[in-house]
C-alpha cells in the first residue's frame, strides 16, 4: 500500500462525451475530504472479480471542495479492465476504496505566468491547476486540444475560470498546437505544464528545450496504463515468495496479490516510487516506464513494476 486509504461512495455518474465518464465521490464516514493541490491524483481500488485493480486518476474538481471529489475516466478499449469496469459495471451508490491524493504535477507558486496545455483526457489535472491559479489570481492561459468538438469536455467550466484565456485546438478541424510558437518569446518566470499523449508531451518538451527553456520550468504528466504481456516467473528474496505474473496483471499487481507490501505512488511509470532492485533476470527486461535513465536501463539492476515486465524466464527481486 502507499498513502492512507479512504472508503468512498460513487454519488453521481455523468456521461460527458463518447467514452468519457465523470464520477463524483463522497466519503462514506461523512467526514470532509482533505484539501489537495491542483494537479493531484488519487488511486482507485476497483473490484474486478476476485482481485483489486488500482488505477490512478487526476482530481479535477475544486481543490477546496471538501464534500465531493471528481474524476473523469476515458474508456480504454485495450485496457485490462480498470476503465472498462468504471464504464460498464460501476453504479451510483457503489462503494470503493481510494488512496489519498499525491501530487506529482504541482504548480510552481513562484511562477509569474503559467501556460497550461491539455491533450484529450489530459484535461483533468489541468482543470484543477487552472482552478487553483484562478483562485490565486495568477496570470495563466489554457491550450486544450481534443479530437472533435464533442470531446471537448469541461470547456464551460474552463471558460468560466479564465474567460478569453482558453484556446481550443480541434483535431477534426485540422487545428493543432505549434509548440515552437507557443513557447517563443515568453517573459522570464513563465512555467509550462502539459498533460496529454506521449507524442504531444515529447514534442512540447523538445520545442521548449530548443528555445532554451530550463527543465525547472517545463512540467509534464503522462500516465501509462500498464500493458499486459507474456506471463513470467518471479522470486522475491526478502519475503521468500515465488509466483507467476499472469499476462493480464502488472508485476506490481501480482506482488500485491501475494500480500507483499510494495511501494507506489503514480502506478503509471512516472514517479519512480515503486523502483525495485533486480537481483537476477533470466530473460529480457521490458521497460515501459518514463523514469529510469538509459544507463539505469542498461545496467539491468532496476525495474519499475507498475508498468514493466520480463520477457521469458525468471525475475529475482530484492523485496
Amino acid at each position: 500500500m502507499s498513502s492512507a486509504s479512504l472508503n468512498v461512495e460513487i454519488r453521481r455518474i455523468r456521461d460527458l462525451a463518447p467514452g468519457i465518464r465523470e464520477f463524483s465521490l463522497s466519503r462514506t464516514d461523512g467526514d470532509d475530504f482533505p484539501v489537495y493541490s491542483g494537479g493531484s491524483h488519487i488511486v482507485l481500488s476497483l473490484p474486478l472479480g476476485e482481485r483489486t485493480h488500482r488505477n490512478p486518476y487526476s482530481l479535477l474538481g475544486d481543490p477546496t471542495d471538501r464534500k465531493t471529489w471528481r474524476v473523469a475516466v476515458r474508456k480504454q478499449e485495450d485496457s485490462r479492465g480498470g476503465s472498462r469496469w468504471l464504464h460498464e459495471q460501476a453504479r451510483e451508490g457503489m462503494r470503493i476504496d481510494i488512496a489519498a491524493p499525491v501530487n506529482l504535477f504541482a504548480l510552481n507558486r513562484l511562477g509569474r505566468r503559467h501556460i497550461l496545455v491539455a491533450g484529450g483526457i489530459g484535461i483533468t489535472p489541468i482543470l484543477s491547476q487552472a482552478r487553483e491559479l484562478a483562485r490565486l489570481g495568477a496570470d495563466f492561459e489554457v491550450h486544450y486540444a481534443y479530437r472533435a468538438p464533442e470531446y471537448g469536455v469541461f470547456v464551460d467550466e474552463l471558460e468560466a475560470l479564465a474567460p478569453g484565456r482558453i484556446h481550443h485546438y480541434v483535431q477534426s478541424r485540422r487545428e493543432q498546437i505549434e509548440f515552437s510558437s507557443l513557447l517563443a518569446g515568453r517573459p522570464l518566470g513563465t512555467h509550462f505544464y502539459i498533460c496529454g499523449p506521449g507524442g504531444m508531451v515529447a514534442a512540447s518538451m523538445n520545442a521548449g528545450k530548443a528555445l532554451g527553456w530550463p527543465e525547472s520550468h517545463l512540467h509534464s504528466e503522462q500516465f501509462l496504463a500498464p500493458t499486459g504481456g507474456e506471463p513470467f516467473d518471479v522470486k522475491l528474496t526478502a519475503s521468500g515468495k515465488a509466483f507467476t505474473v499472469p499476462s493480464d496483471l502488472s508485476l506490481l499487481e501480482a506482488i500485491e496479490q501475494q500480500g507483499v507490501d510494495a511501494p507506489y505512488l503514480c502506478r503509471g511509470g512516472a514517479c519512480g516510487q515503486c523502483e525495485l532492485e533486480v537481483v537476477d533476470a533470466s530473460g529480457e527486461l521490458i521497460h515501459h516506464d518514463l523514469y529510469l535513465s538509459a544507463e539505469e536501463r542498461a545496467s539491468g539492476k532496476k525495474i519499475m513494476p507498475c508498468v514493466s515486465r520480463l520477457k521469458g524466464g525468471c525475475l529475482t527481486l530484492n523485496l
Binding site: 509569474r112 517573459p187 532554451g212
Partner: protein, 197 residues
C-alpha cells in the same frame, strides 16, 4: 515551492556559459582580466547583454574590450544604477535566458534577489565571486544589513551592537548572519581582525 536558504557559505563554481540558453545576461561588478578574456573570447550562441558596473574613471576594463560585436554593452557607475538597468533587462528578457552574476557578494546577491522577483529558477542563474571578499552582514537582532564588512567583528550600522560575523549565509537575504558577541558578558568584545579582504 519556496527556495530554501543556504545555511552556510555559498560555493562558487568556475563561471562558464550555459550553452543550453538562447539569451544571456551578464552582470559584472569587478575586474578579472583572465575571466573576461576566457568568457568573451568564446561567447555563447544567441543574444548577450552585459551590464557593467565600473568606476567612473577612464581606465580600460577587460569587460568592455573583446566584446562580441552583437553584444549589448550597458555601462553603469553605481550599484543602484546597475540594479535599475538590470531590472530593465530582466523585464524584457524571455524564457531561454541565462543569467550570470559576477562580482562582490554584496552586489551579486542583491542582483540575485532582483532575479528572484522575476521568478528566475536556480538552473537559470550562475554566481561568481570576484574582487573584494567583504561581506554584507545581517544583524539578527535589529535586522539591519551592514555592508562592506572586512572584519570578523563589526559594529551593526543599525543598532550599534558588536556582531560576530558567521559563515551562515542566507540566500534570501543575500547576507551573512551576525550575532551579538558580548551577549553573555556585555562590553567584552575581542579586537576585530580583517579576515575578508
Amino acid at each position: 515551492m519556496s527556495t530554501p536558504a543556504i545555511k552556510s557559505q555559498p560555493i562558487y563554481a568556475e563561471l562558464e556559459w550555459d550553452r543550453t540558453g538562447t539569451h544571456h545576461i551578464l552582470f559584472v561588478s569587478a575586474e578579472d582580466a583572465a575571466l573576461a578574456q576566457r568568457l568573451l573570447s568564446n561567447p555563447p550562441g544567441g543574444t548577450l547583454t552585459v551590464v557593467h558596473l565600473r568606476p567612473a574613471d577612464d581606465s580600460r576594463s577587460a569587460w568592455s574590450q573583446n566584446l562580441p560585436d552583437t553584444a549589448l554593452y550597458l555601462e553603469t557607475h553605481t550599484l543602484a544604477e546597475a540594479l535599475e538597468v538590470l531590472r530593465d533587462a530582466f523585464y524584457v528578457a524571455q524564457m531561454g535566458t541565462r543569467i550570470y552574476l559576477a562580482g562582490a557578494e554584496d552586489a551579486i546577491w542583491q542582483a540575485s534577489q532582483l532575479a528572484d522577483t522575476f521568478g528566475v529558477s536556480r538552473d537559470e542563474i550562475r554566481h561568481a565571486q570576484l574582487g573584494t571578499k567583504a561581506r554584507p552582514v545581517f544583524c539578527v537582532h535589529c535586522r539591519t544589513i551592514t555592508r562592506g564588512v572586512h572584519t570578523n567583528i563589526v559594529s551593526c550600522s543599525g543598532c550599534g551592537r558588536s556582531l560576530f560575523v558567521r559563515d551562515h549565509f542566507s540566500r534570501r537575504l543575500g547576507a551573512y548572519m551576525g550575532f551579538q558577541i558580548d551577549a553573555e558578558v556585555p562590553g567584552e568584545v575581542p579586537a576585530a581582525e580583517v579576515v575578508y579582504p
